[in-house]
Amino acid sequence: MNISIPVVASLIILGLLGIGLYALLAVRNLIKIIIALQIMVKGVLVAFILAGRLQGDMATAQSMALVVIVADTIVAVVGLALAVQIRRHTGKLDTTALTTLRR
């Protein structure tokens, strides 16, 4: 298998998505969950650029990536704000503290 840019990019995408997914499933610390989300979004960004290159439409891909970066920043900010509130409220950063609706 010759090593070309699309292959490398695909491997990066899969790696980032896989790491992020594993962390989402395994980690219970809220800050770490937000980091995991960020890792996954970075994988998605690379995927956009790769798709743009393969389709020959880099402009659309880049604009999409920019939109995702902005949206993703907002997600991170809101997520961190929620994490702060949860920490103040429960004294923990652990998602197991958020199961109070369960009977």
């Binding site: 499933l25 980690v27 998602t95 199961t99 609706l101």
Partner: protein, 582 residues
């Protein structure tokens, strides 16, 4: 001009509702006046639409390329139901001035009523299936909010939730049909489908037809969904008159009539509509006979009369069904508002505690009797003509045994109507309470309705023209003059029907001598008082749902990781279906 008028008919009540709500509950008399003014304006706009119905005004609100335009068409059927909604709506609002006098939270009340009137006009005027669904759900939500208006009364809250859940079950059928229409024809506009049913392959058309039948049956409280309407009687009485007698429950009949040209060749569809109507008409009439709650009697009679309309559609009598809808809206609104006047002054809905009220409330008695005679189908009131048209349609195009069942239903209708009138207005007074007469606003609302009950049948010819081939080319309604209706009604079957109705009347007159018969039928009466087991079925479904929810509670761990796993598993399944499912 005409397009503005069409949009105004929908917009005026909505704007009015917003203003009434914003004015605030501290200015009650101002709220009354604003509500009446906007309701009357909407009524005027609705009536002003009538001359435009034959010119087929089409209003397109462009909404991008996905769902196509939001189209409104002012054709005969739509304009007719708009007039019913806005005019009877304004009378109900006028009546409310007296009925709701001194209530808290009038803003919420009037806002919901006006919002409902606008949504009902929109529902019947649009030809975009997506909008039909939206307006359909808005009317259901307004109905729910108004049934539960007295939200400190557990019965009212329960009745509202029951109505909401059952009509939502129907809403699923409507949504499925709408999505099918979009998926197969690529457009949400249904007028093309009505003009040419071959646009949809037979199997999809069949699913759509029966989905719409479920939606219509749930909305119009038809078998097997009839249980919500009697419980909806916890609403303030003007609401029962407007929403649960004259307009919203007619939405199902409207839907069936509107789509009749598209669905009539679907195998089994007309028979299903016919049987749903027949079963409902008979069953609800028997239940009305054993109920002692004044408003529940009227609710059961509404269910029963809606059954007559379904029956007429099943038999192909679109004109008969819509004409009966027209008459029924008028005389049932009259009966409900009359009942509201009685309940308002007596303070109870139990007919066993009434009796002898005629002397104190002569006007209410007079208009209630007019409405009752129309309900029973006594000539020459409007109910007589339209009910005979329904029966004629059944005799001409339906199996003869269904006609006989409907005749029996007509007899029972006469029987329970006279039982109701007798228990409320005649006999010995059952309570010592002082009874005051109806207020002036109540009378203002009652008198036009009573007059219309006496005379609206004279409009049969123009009504036929309104629904004629000029505006509804696919429906094939040919009646264009009063003479044709009179000619069709004055025949031997009508005489038979009148004899049956007279028998029902006689049965109430000689009820003392018929104790043997009534004892023999006690079993049926007891079953009817238990709503023929449908309440038990409802309770069973609720219980089953609750225990299933309890059992599935274990899957809700509340853990974020577990939820993410669920989301991703679902995503993988969807992806797999999309990729491998073809």
């Amino acid at each position: 001009m005409a397009t503005t008028l069409l949009l105004l008919t929908i917009a005026i009540p909505w704007v009015g509702g917003l203003i009434v709500w914003l004015v605030g509950n501290k200015h009650a008399s101002l709220q009354h006046r604003i509500a009446v003014a906007f309701a009357l304006l909407a009524g005027g706009a609705g009536v002003a639409l009538i001359p435009y119905s034959s010119s087929q005004i089409v209003v397109n609100l462009p909404l991008g390329s996905v769902f196509g335009d939001f189209t409104f068409v002012a054709d005969g059927l739509g304009v007719f139901l708009t007039v019913v909604a806005t005019v009877i709506g304004s009378l109900a609002v006028i009546f409310s001035v007296d009925y709701m006098h001194g209530e808290d939270q009038l803003g919420r009340y009037y806002a919901m009523v006006l919002f409902f009137i606008g949504a009902m006009s929109g529902l019947v005027l649009t030809s975009n299936m997506l909008l039909v669904f939206f307006f359909w759900e808005i009317t259901a939500l307004c109905s729910y909010a108004l049934i539960s208006f007295h939200n400190d009364d557990p019965k009212a809250v329960a009745g509202g939730i029951k109505a909401l859940i059952i009509t939502q079950i129907g809403g699923v059928g409507l949504l499925a049909g709408a999505l099918l229409l979009f998926a197969v024809t690529g457009s949400m506009d249904f007028n093309a489908l009505i003009a040419n049913p071959a646009l949809m392959p037979a199997k999809w058309l069949g699913i759509m037809a029966f989905g719409f039948l479920i939606a219509a049956a749930a909305k119009s409280a038809q078998f097997p969904f009839q249980t919500w309407l009697p419980d909806a009687m916890e609403a303030p009485t003007p609401i029962s008159a407007l929403i649960h007698a004259a307009t919203m429950v007619n939405a199902g009949v409207y839907l069936m009539a509107r789509f009749y040209p598209a669905f009539k060749d679907v195998p089994g569809w007309t028979t299903a509509v016919l049987l749903v109507g027949m079963i409902t008409a008979l069953m609800a009439a028997i239940m009305a006979l054993v109920s002692n709650d004044l408003k529940r009697v009227l609710a059961y009679s509404t269910v029963s009369q809606l059954g007559y309309m379904f029956y007429a559609i099943g038999a192909g009598g679109i004109y008969a069904s819509q004409f009966h809808l027209f008459s029924h809206s008028i005389f049932k609104a009259l009966l409900f508002l009359g009942a509201g006047a009685v309940i308002h002054s007596v303070g109870t809905r139990d007919m066993r505690q009434m009796g002898g009220l005629g002397k104190q409330m002569p006007l209410v008695r007079a208009v209630f009797i007019i409405g009752g005679l129309a309900l029973a189908g006594i000539p020459i009131l409007n109910g007589f003509w339209s009910k005979e048209m329904v029966l004629e349609a059944g005799l001409a195009h339906a199996p003869i045994w269904t006609y006989i069942v409907m005749l029996v239903g007509a007899g029972i209708t006469a029987l329970y109507t006279f039982r109701c009138i007798w228990m409320v207005f005649y006999g010995q007074p059952q309570s010592e309470k002082h009874v005051h007469d109806a207020g002036p606003a109540m009378k203002v609302a009652l008198i036009p309705l009573a007059f219309a009950t006496l005379t609206s049948w004279l409009l049969a010819g123009s009504f036929g023209k309104l629904l004629g081939p000029e505006t509804l080319p696919s429906h094939g309604i040919e009646i264009s003059s009063l003479g044709e209706v009179i000619h069709e009604v004055l025949s031997l079957p009508t005489l038979i029907a009148l004899i049956v109705i007279a028998l029902g009347l006689a049965a109430w007159w000689w009820r003392g001598k018929l104790t043997g018969l009534s004892n023999a039928l006690k079993g049926i009466g007891k079953a009817a008082a238990d709503s023929f087991g449908f309440e038990a079925i409802n309770r069973g479904i609720v219980k089953g749902t609750q225990s299933a929810a309890e059992a599935l509670r274990a899957t809700q761990t509340g853990l974020l990781n577990w939820n993410i796993f669920g989301i991703i598993a679902g995503l993988i399944i969807v992806l797999a279906v999309v990729i491998f499912g073809g």
